[in-house]
């Protein structure tokens, strides 16, 4: 379903993704693990037509997302790592806008929005502006929105960041359910090894832009002689802590906070 060959992304001198190759079969849950700044999000951006690769080849359901952008976008849905909601609209309006963009038919739209907002316990707040929501509520809304339509491929970029265990549980239960009933292919990244261990069929570990190991959780543990996936991960990527530099987006958020206390 997803095929990646010798994918490279360079920003100036910096190589964010360095010659990676992997395949995700249809109906598979594939976890992409790596420390901060390893190239996970850059890879997802290239897979989802937000970034052009420097070189290499990608296929999504047989389509090259660099050439057939629009067709490729019809095959997937994505939950982003960082916020992507419209804070000046209500929770319900955000859901509705997404449903229209993703061509969820008018008949099922209202019903599905209600169902998802209830499941993620946002139904009572549906008519409140997103800018009044707490961080956790925003995350929940992003996730609820991501499940509004059922794509062939679902990208989840650190979906559980900042979520409480209840919501995390809801999320993974839903993902597994989709995978089993709709045969949805899932490509996810996370920092929580227990989650990857629990839901992923196969795992790839990426560090400094390159894939250092891939296989089932069992294979990775055996390969490194570790008892847990976390130990295997540390054995493969080392224990030094990585820093990500602040992006212009972070700086803008600072400025925005200064200028408009409402946001």
């Amino acid at each position: 379903m997803i095929q990646v060959h010798n994918l490279v992304k360079k920003f100036g001198d910096f190589t964010a993704v360095n010659n990676i190759s992997f395949t995700v079969e249809a109906g598979e849950i594939f976890a992409f693990l790596g420390p901060n700044g390893a190239g996970k999000t850059t890879t997802i951006k290239m897979l989802t037509t937000l970034l052009h690769p420097t070189s290499g080849k990608i296929e999504l359901d047989g389509l090259d997302p660099t050439i057939h952008q629009y067709q490729a976008r019809r095959t997937f849905g994505i939950v982003f790592q960082d916020p992507s909601l419209d804070s000046e609209q209500t929770a319900y309006e955000n859901m509705e806008l997404h449903a229209v963009l993703y061509k969820v038919s008018r008949k099922v739209r209202a019903e599905r929005i209600e169902q998802l907002l209830k499941r993620f316990e946002l139904w009572e707040r549906r008519d409140d502006y997103v800018k009044t929501f707490s961080g956790g509520m925003k995350r929940r809304l992003e996730i609820a929105r991501g499940f509004l339509h059922t794509p062939k491929i679902l990208f989840l970029d650190e979906p559980t960041l900042g979520l409480d265990p209840q919501t995390r549980n809801q999320l993974w239960t839903h993902v597994k359910h989709l995978n089993e009933t709709q045969k949805t292919t899932v490509f996810l990244t996370t920092h929580y090894m227990d989650e990857a261990d629990r839901v992923a069929h196969r795992i790839a570990i990426i560090d400094h832009g390159g894939i250092v190991a891939q296989g089932t959780s069992q294979q990775l543990k055996q390969q490194t002689g570790s008892e847990s996936l976390e130990q295997a991960f540390l054995a493969l990527t080392g224990s030094s802590i990585r820093d990500e530099s602040a992006t212009s987006a972070d700086q803008m958020r600072q400025v925005a906070k200064m200028w408009s206390p409402r946001r």
Binding site: Y70, R73, F80, S84, D86, E88, L97, A249
Partner: protein, 248 residues
């Protein structure tokens, strides 16, 4: 089509909901209208050009539309930084539809702002020559709005941060306003200024609006309208192209 509609609607909702911003954005044009309109009135009259308020009103309306429309396009910067832009860029909708929805939304908001200022002009004593040409005036205002909303989208597509925004405002939008003949007559200008004003798209917008509202067009209605239409097409194409190439 429904994607265009929902994104257009979003721009409108944002406008209606930010009342403080509506009031704030009307302040500057009102200053120009009242202070210049009445302040320069006597001099203008003495020079034999008639009422300055009559003359400057179409200019101030055009200015309101220019600022509002360009700003709505550049406001894409916020959507980029706060993430909502991503949501629309990965959606299974041709990017040109996303761009058109946003641009028409911005143009509609600008048209509303322009209409509010037109009403303010009427209250201040502005009297259009032919009331029957009012619908045509709205058409011209709409055309100006589309031209600059498309230009704003083009800028918004390439800008990455606030510094760029300041640059565009100071070196593009303000000169477009000042060089458009919104504040002064185009006749008998020094040659360099005459040439520059003719390169400014807003010149033809202001002139068309003057033609319709106070029956005083410099270039003629046909030339103004056809040029504005051509510029609108060109800017829409440019905006669409740059928007479709956005990478995040």
């Amino acid at each position: 089509m429904s994607a265009i509609y929902i994104l257009w609607l979003r721009e409108l909702k944002r406008y209606v909901r930010s009342r403080a911003q509506i009031v704030a954005s009307l302040g500057q044009p009102l200053l120009y209208l009242l202070v210049l309109g009445f302040g320069l009135g006597p001099v203008f009259q003495k020079a034999g050009n008639g009422s300055y308020l009559q003359f400057v009103a179409p200019g101030v309306i055009s200015m309101t539309i220019l600022f509002s429309a360009t700003f709505s396009g550049i406001a894409m910067l916020w959507d980029r930084q706060f993430g909502f832009l991503k949501e629309t860029l990965v959606a299974p909708v041709p990017r040109i539809e996303v761009m058109i929805g946003r641009t028409l939304g911005g143009a509609t908001v600008a048209l509303i702002q322009g209409t509010l200022i037109l009403i303010a002009c009427l209250l201040a004593g502005f009297r259009p020559a032919h009331l029957s040409l009012f619908p045509l005036a709205f058409l011209m205002m709409g055309l100006i709005a589309i031209v600059f909303a498309a230009l704003g989208t083009a800028f918004g597509s390439i800008l990455q941060d606030m510094q760029g925004f300041q640059l565009i405002m100071n070196f593009m939008v303000l000169p477009i306003f000042f060089l458009s003949g919104a504040l002064f007559p185009l006749a008998n200008l020094p040659r360099p200024l005459a040439i520059i004003t003719r390169l400014d798209p807003l010149t033809y917008g202001v002139d068309a609006l003057r033609g319709v509202l106070i029956n005083a067009s410099h270039f003629g209605f046909a030339l103004d309208t056809s040029l504005l239409c051509a510029i609108a097409m060109a800017f829409l194409a440019l905006g669409g192209y740059l928007f479709s190439r956005i990478q995040l």
